[in-house]
């Protein structure tokens, strides 16, 4: 991330939160369709380089069992100027939640459940999320 052209580096760390709307999480489990997840993360990187040409992006997402406060996802963006570093970083997390095939299973105090539809935008109007150039 650190390079002479960079004036701004933003990072986002998504951590496992203990309470969601009063419900207590004991632990989490992430399952991924790995080859496609990697491909979609690369797609997000390409989208960002098109939208914010001078940025460099790195994204990492955990799979498997996570405890409270563990980092589930880390996004780092470096850019000559700060606005792009913030925008591209937030874009990355929004897109991860749209197109990267990773699923979260919450282990609550009183049971467990797979979480879906975080964005409340399924079924996708077009049958699939917008990807890359197809959005133009």
């Amino acid at each position: 991330m650190t390079r002479p052209e960079a004036g701004a580096i933003t990072t986002f760390i998504g951590t496992v939160r203990e309470f969601t709307k009063g419900k207590r999480t004991i632990s989490l489990e992430y399952q991924a369709y790995k080859p496609m997840a990697v491909k979609m993360l690369q797609t997000i990187g390409k989208e960002i380089n098109e939208k914010w040409p001078d940025t460099v992006v790195a994204i990492s997402h955990r799979v498997g069992h996570l405890q409270i406060s563990d980092a589930a996802v880390v996004i780092a963006v470096s850019s000559p100027h700060r606005r792009a570093a913030y925008e591209a970083n937030e874009y990355a997390i929004e897109r991860i939640k749209q197109i990267v095939p990773i699923w979260k299973k919450e282990h609550w105090e009183d049971g467990e459940s797979w979480i879906g539809d975080q964005l409340e935008n399924v079924p996708y109007a077009t049958g699939k999320p917008e990807i890359g150039d197809e959005s133009t």
Binding site: Q31, Y33, P35, K39, V73, P101, W103, K104, Q118, V122
Partner: protein, 77 residues
């Protein structure tokens, strides 16, 4: 024969990591119908289908040898 990967709640509902179909060709819509008829998975209409690791349109045709996956609503990040 078409092999279809399952994940998350669908994997648990079916009890398998993948299922197979005898057909050599199948549209995405037909695949949904097959799963609706064979398994108690009401969320299939909210799921997406991926062919060769790309999200597929409803009218796309799956052929023997394609890597197919049902993508229930995702929850990463």
């Amino acid at each position: 024969m078409i092999k279809v990967l399952l994940f998350a709640d669908l994997q648990e509902t079916v009890g398998k990591e993948f299922i197979t179909f005898e057909e050599n060709e199948l549209t995405v819509t037909a695949l949904r119908t097959e799963i609706k008829n064979s398994y108690q998975y009401t969320q299939i209409d909210n799921a997406m289908v991926a062919i060769n690791e790309e999200f597929a349109r409803e009218d796309e045709i799956i052929k023997t040898g394609d890597i197919v996956a049902i993508i229930p609503p995702i929850s990463g990040g």
